[in-house]
Amino acid sequence: MLLVLSDDHKEHLAFLPTVDTAVVGEFGRIALEFLRRGSSPKIYEGAARKLSVPVDMVQHGVEGLMFLMTESSKHMISEVDFLDSVLALGFGDELNQMLLQLYLQHHSQIRSILSQLPSNLPAYQNLEWRLDVQLASRSARQQVIPALTMRLLLTRGSDSRSDHSIRVLQADPSTLLHLISTLEAALAAMKTSHSRRILRNIK
């Protein structure tokens, strides 16, 4: 699969061959940093001053790189397809190889960043538990009521800016056994020939 680069995108990236390869390397580092932590206009200004070019140009160059990296990571294109895709930019061999290395080294991390974007449901993180026995209360003495107190840790979003939520819940012993058997059935569903067939065929 080849990437189809728009004219705007090509124009933005056209800035790259006009600067030193070390600068392109630096842009690549900045692009990845921005993908991880979000962009910061101050860095664009600093780089533009050093290179004595307009801020727009630097910003377009870095954003063009970010877009190139996210698009190729999104489709997980092969090494050959990546090189063929950037051929359309008309860059030299050295620059193309540099972009390829950038892609190959970072595509799995970019994919993991991208995959966290659409998940707005909280995800399971951990479960801590404690066995409690209620012995007495204001309204009744001499009780023996076992209960499992649980602390369910959930996270939402990526690790760096994650939003933890903690839920404290209780279950009586019979409900606990019911939970275990229901969730074991869920795990068993994964091993059925139906699920395995789907997993094997949709690749």
Binding site: L121, Y124, L127, A140, P173, L183, L187
Partner: protein, 193 residues
């Protein structure tokens, strides 16, 4: 059991043959347990033909005293000898003590559960539902191809129910089930002590 003066007075009139005849006594004892056990107390609980001839103020005092006595007995987990000696002091006949005690025995467990459930607790899990899904792609990433579970824990807190939804991978669900099984093992061990 320590009882206030008004409760003692109410119980004494309940013991009094000239106020409550045998059937009236039986009906009042049953009505007292019933008014404690039904979640929305029936306002007509004292509206019985057996009570027509009884002074309404005495009737209400006896009913209040009987329910208070029952709650106190269940709260203290009182045994037969405690209840008998207490009622004897309040001039109950052996026959009336027997009638009261058999009703007490019948409803004690349920009342105990009711009293133990009073007070703040963490939300109670009632049920869990699950869905197995295969994440193939989304707007940001192609070829994700990862199975995952959507889990919904149904919990109840002070009468209102709530669903706690989250997703987990197969490994995470194995982790969760493993921890729940550990917990179940310690519940079992503790129950054998």
């Amino acid at each position: 059991m320590e009882l206030s003066e008004s409760v003692q007075r109410g119980l004494q009139s309940l013991a009094d043959l000239s106020v409550f005849d045998q059937s009236g006594f039986q009906v009042l004892v049953d009505a007292s347990f019933r008014s404690l056990l039904s979640s929305h107390a029936d306002p007509g609980v004292l509206d019985q033909p057996e009570f027509k001839r009884i002074d309404q103020i005495l009737l209400k005092q006896s009913h209040t005293a009987a329910t208070t006595f029952i709650l106190e007995a269940v709260k203290q987990n009182a045994d037969k000898s405690t209840i008998s000696s207490c009622l004897e002091e309040l001039t109950f006949s052996a026959e009336r003590i027997e009638i009261f005690y058999s009703a007490y025995q019948k409803h004690k467990k349920e009342l105990g559960r009711l009293l133990a459930s009073i007070g703040r607790r963490a939300p109670q899990i009632n049920d869990v539902s699950w869905r197995l899904q295969y994440h193939t792609k989304n707007g940001q990433v192609d070829k994700v191809n990862e199975p995952f579970y959507s889990i919904s824990l149904n919990a109840e807190n002070e009468g209102s129910s709530e669903d706690i939804n989250f997703t987990c991978t197969v490994e995470q669900l194995q982790d969760l089930v493993g921890k729940l099984k550990d917990a179940a093992k310690s519940v079992e061990k503790a129950s054998q002590m």
